[in-house]
C-alpha cells in the first residue's frame, strides 16, 4: 500500500481511495493540470454552459421517457384516461404519449421538461455561437472547436425534429409530410430517398420507429462524442478572456476550477434545471392531446414547427413556386432551392473563420477576445447573417404575423422575398457605421478623458465641459486591441520591368483585406504621441 518514501502515518480513507485510483488511472497527473485550472469570468461565457446543462437535462429526461413511450405505428383504439380521445383510432406512439401525459404520474412534467430543455438547448447553442463569433473566439487555435460546435447545433436541429415527430400527432405529422415533400424535390434521388426513409409511400408504418432510433441513439450518440471533444478542447486551449489589466495573450486570469467554478458551474446546472422545471410546471408545451392523432388528409391552421426549424419553414414559404419541366422530368426549384439555401446559409457561418484567417493571413494564436466594435467588418457580417436568419424566420410565421397584426399575408411574403436580399445589406452597412462610431468614441475617451458632466464657466464667460482623464487600467483596456494593415499586392512589375503574375485570388484577397482593414474601415487607435501631445499641452478643452 505505501511506498518506501511514505511516512509512517496512515493516510485518510479518501486519500487511500485516490491512491488506489491513481495507481490504475493516473488521476493525480490529471488533477495536477486541471483541478486548479483557471477560468476567466464574464457573463457571456455562461451561454455555452446553458446549452451544456440543457443537453444533460434532455438526456436524463429522455431516458425516462423511453421507459414509457412505444415507438410503433400500429393502430390502436384509445381507452386511456383522457376522455375526449376515448375510442379514437391512433398509432401506439400517439397513445403512449397520451399515457405519459395523463396516466404516468409526473410523466407530463418530464415530457414538458424534455421539450422545453430542447428549445433552450438550441437557443443556448445559437446564442453561444454568436458570442464566439462576435468576439472572434473562433480564431486560431479554436477553429476546429468552432466546427464541433457548429455540428452540434446542426445535429441538435435534426435531433429536435426527429424528437417532436415521434408522438405522431397531427402537427408533427404535418411537419414530417413537409420534410417528405422537400425530399421528393431532390433531383433524381428524391423519390428513392423518400421510399427508403418511409419504408414505402408516405406515411407508411415505419417512420416513428426509424426516427426513434435516430432520435435516441444515432444523433445523440454522435452529439455526445462531439460534446466531449468540444469540452476537452476548451480545457486544452484554456478559455479566452477579454483584454484588461494583467491579461495578456500568454496568460489566463480568473479563478480556479476547485473550488470557485466547481461551485459556480455546478450550481449553474441546478439553476438551469430548476428554471426549466418551473417552466414545465407552469407553461404547457406541445399539448398533443389537443391536436389529435395524425391523418394525412387533415391539418390545423397556424401550424408552426419548433423555433429552430422556423428558418427552414420561412425559406419554403416565401420561395416562388418555380418548376421546370423538361424531357419528361421535373426540377422542383420551388422546394429544392429552399432546401439548398438552408444548407448554404448554415455553411456560410461555419466556414467564416477560415475565410477570415485567409484574409488576414494571421497564423498566430489568439486568446484575447475582440470587442465586436473593434472588428467592424466581422461584426457587420455577423449581424447581416442574423438579420437574414430573422427575416426568413418572420417568413416562417407569415400567417401568424398576418392574423396577429392584421397585415396582409401576401404583403408579408413579399416583404420577406425582398428583404431576404436587401435586409442583410442594410444591416451590414448600419452595423459597420455603428462599430466605427463606437471606435471613434473609444478613441475620444482615451485622448480626452471621460465626460464628467461638470460644466465650468471660465472668467471670461466661456463654458467648458470638464473631462476626467482615464486611469491607466482603462487606458490600457481601450487601446489593447490589435489592428491589421490591409494586404498590398505591391508593384506588379519589378525593377527589371518583368511582370509578376498576380492571381485573381490574390487580387480578391487584397480587396477583401482593404474592405476589412482599409483606412475608412477601421479607426486607427490613438498613439502614444497623440496622447502625449494632447495631455501635455494646455489641459482639457
Amino acid at each position: 500500500m505505501s511506498t518506501a518514501t511514505d511516512t509512517q502515518r496512515k493516510a485518510p480513507a479518501g486519500e487511500r481511495v485516490a491512491d488506489w485510483a491513481d495507481g490504475r488511472l493516473g488521476i493525480y497527473s490529471l488533477a495536477k493540470a486541471n483541478m486548479r485550472k483557471i477560468f476567466p469570468d464574464h457573463w457571456s461565457f455562461m451561454l455555452g454552459e446553458i446549452a451544456l446543462y440543457s443537453f444533460i437535462i434532455i438526456i436524463l429526461t429522455g431516458v425516462y421517457l423511453t421507459l414509457f413511450f412505444h415507438p410503433s405505428m400500429n393502430e390502436v383504439v384509445y381507452h386511456g384516461s383522457y376522455e375526449p380521445m376515448q375510442g379514437i383510432k391512433m398509432s401506439e406512439a400517439y397513445a403512449s404519449t397520451l399515457d405519459i401525459s395523463f396516466d404516468v404520474r409526473g410523466g407530463l412534467l418530464v415530457r414538458q421538461i424534455h421539450h422545453w430543455a430542447a428549445l433552450i438547448f438550441l437557443a443556448g447553442m445559437f446564442v453561444h455561437m454568436m458570442r464566439v463569433f462576435f468576439t472572434g473566439a473562433f480564431r486560431k487555435p479554436r477553429e476546429i472547436n468552432w466546427l464541433f460546435g457548429f455540428l452540434l447545433f446542426v445535429l441538435g436541429m435534426f435531433t429536435g425534429f426527429t424528437g417532436y415527430s415521434l408522438p405522431d400527432d397531427l402537427l408533427s405529422g404535418t411537419g414530417v409530410r413537409f420534410t417528405q415533400g422537400a425530399i421528393l424535390s431532390m433531383p433524381i434521388v428524391g423519390t428513392y430517398i423518400s421510399m427508403f426513409l418511409f419504408g414505402g409511400e408516405f406515411p407508411g408504418h415505419d417512420f416513428v420507429a426509424r426516427f426513434y432510433s435516430i432520435h435516441i441513439l444515432l444523433l445523440p450518440g454522435i452529439m455526445l462524442g462531439l460534446l466531449v471533444a468540444h469540452l476537452i478542447l476548451v480545457f486544452y486551449h484554456k478559455h479566452t478572456q477579454f483584454a484588461g489589466p494583467g491579461r495578456t495573450n500568454k496568460n489566463v486570469v480568473g479563478m480556479p476550477l476547485l473550488p470557485v467554478y466547481m461551485a459556480k458551474a455546478g450550481g449553474f446546472f441546478f439553476l438551469v434545471f430548476g428554471i426549466i422545471a418551473v417552466i414545465a410546471a407552469i407553461a404547457s408545451i406541445n399539448p398533443i392531446w389537443a391536436i389529435g392523432p395524425y391523418r394525412p388528409d387533415q391539418v390545423s391552421t397556424g401550424a408552426q414547427p419548433d423555433w429552430y426549424m422556423g428558418f427552414a419553414e420561412g425559406l419554403i414559404r416565401v420561395m416562388p413556386g418555380w418548376e421546370i419541366n423538361l424531357w419528361g422530368h421535373t426540377l422542383v426549384l420551388g422546394v429544392f432551392i429552399p432546401l439548398m439555401a438552408f444548407g448554404l446559409v448554415l455553411a456560410i457561418i461555419a466556414v467564416y473563420p477560415f475565410v477570415e484567417s485567409w484574409i488576414t493571413g494571421d497564423k498566430r494564436e489568439h486568446h484575447i477576445l475582440d470587442r465586436p466594435r473593434n472588428a467592424p467588418t466581422r461584426t457587420a457580417f455577423g449581424v447581416a447573417w442574423i438579420t437574414e436568419y430573422v427575416i426568413v424566420f418572420i417568413g416562417g410565421g407569415n400567417d401568424l404575423w398576418a392574423t396577429h397584426f392584421h397585415l396582409s399575408l401576401n404583403a408579408i411574403s413579399w416583404f420577406v422575398r425582398i428583404f431576404i436580399f436587401v435586409g442583410p445589406v442594410l444591416a451590414f452597412i448600419a452595423t459597420r457605421r455603428i462599430c466605427l462610431g463606437l471606435q471613434r468614441r473609444d478613441k475620444e475617451k482615451v485622448l480626452h478623458g471621460r465626460e464628467s458632466g461638470i460644466i465650468k464657466r471660465l472668467p471670461h464667460g466661456e463654458f467648458v465641459e470638464i473631462h476626467e482623464p482615464l486611469g491607466p487600467e482603462q487606458l490600457h483596456t481601450l487601446t489593447a486591441h490589435e489592428q491589421y494593415k490591409p494586404v498590398e499586392i505591391g508593384p506588379t512589375v519589378d525593377e527589371n520591368g518583368v511582370e509578376r503574375k498576380v492571381s485573381a485570388l490574390q487580387k480578391l484577397r487584397a480587396r477583401l483585406s482593404k474592405g476589412y482593414y482599409g483606412e475608412d474601415n477601421q479607426i486607427a487607435k490613438p498613439t502614444v504621441e497623440e496622447y502625449k501631445e494632447i495631455t501635455s499641452g494646455h489641459g482639457h478643452h
Partner: protein, 350 residues
Amino acid sequence: MSSQEIPEENLPAEQGPAHGAVEGADDPFADPGLPAHQPRIQDIDERAAKRSERAVAFMFTLSMLATVGFIASYVIFPVDKIVYIWPFGHVSALNFSLGLTLGVALFAIGAGAVHWARTLMSDVEVADDRHAIEATPEVKAKVLADFAAGAEESAFGRRKLIRNTMFGALALVPLSGVVLLRDLGPLPEKKLRNTLWAKGKQLINMNTMEPLRPEDVAVGSLTFAMPEGLTEEAEDFQNQIAKAALMIIRIQPENIKDKREREWAHEGIVAFSKICTHVGCPISLYEQQTHHVLCPCHQSTFDLSDGARVIFGPAGHALPQLRIGVNSEGNLEALGDFDEPVGPAFWERG
C-alpha cells in the same frame, strides 16, 4: 495560395506590455498589471460571513424541504386532478406541484452553491500561463523521424501492390453496408402516379360515409370525399388517403373559367385533389365568394374556378382535377384516376 505571402508587417505588432509603441514606463497605455484585490465585506467582517453562511444553508435546507414536498405531491394529488391557479388557468395539480417543488429543490441547490462561491470562497484572481499549442521544433522533428521509421519498417511506400490492394479492399468493404440498406423500402416505380380512384368508384362523403349525390353539394360548401371501398380500418388507409383525399365544391357552370374544368365537372360540381402540390399538406381553407382555396401550412392559394391554378404562394402547379359523373343510382362517381400525380412534384413527374 498560402498566407506565407503576406508580409509580416501587415500583421499587428505582437501584444506586449508596450504595444510596440514607446518602450518602458513612459507608455501611458502600458499594461498596469493585475489590479489589487478588493476585499469583500465577508472577507473583513466575520458577521457578514456568518450571514452568508446562513443564507447558503437556508438555500440547501429549502431544497431539502422542496424535495419532501415533491414526494408529498406525488402521493397526495391524483393524476387527473385539475385545479384553477391564477394566472395559469386550469392546470393539472400534480404537474404543477411536482414541477414547482422540483424546480425549487434544484434551483435552491444552485442558488446556494453560487452564493457560497461568490461570497465565501476566495475571489482572488490568479494568472495562469498559457503554453503554445504547437510542438517545439525538436518534438516535431522527433515525431517526423518516428513516423518515417515506422513507415519505412512497414514498407508501405515500397510495396505498392500491398498498398493498392489494401486501399481497394478498404474502399469496397463498406459497400456491404450500403447494400444492406436496400430493403429499407421499395423502389418508387409508378407508386406516386396512381391513387385509389378508378372509373366507376363512387365518391364517399367523409362526414357521413355515404355515397355523395349531386344534390348534397350546395354552392358555397366544401365537401371532402374518399373513394368507395376505402375504410378507416384498412391497413393502408393512411397511405391511400394521403393520395386520394378529395375536395368537392359547386360553382355555377358559367363561372368556371377553365374549359377543361367545366368538361370534367358534373353540373358545376368539381372535384380536386386535397393534397397541396407544394409539399403535400391537406388544403382546408375555402373562400366561398372567390372559390379560392388556401393551404394553411405554407399559404399556397389556388383558384378552383380556373383549373385550380396557383394564384399565390410557393406551390409550383395546379391541383389535379378528378373527372366525375353520375352513375345509374344517381351517385357521384369518378370517371377514372387523376391524369397526373397528386401531391408534391418530384423528378420523375414530368
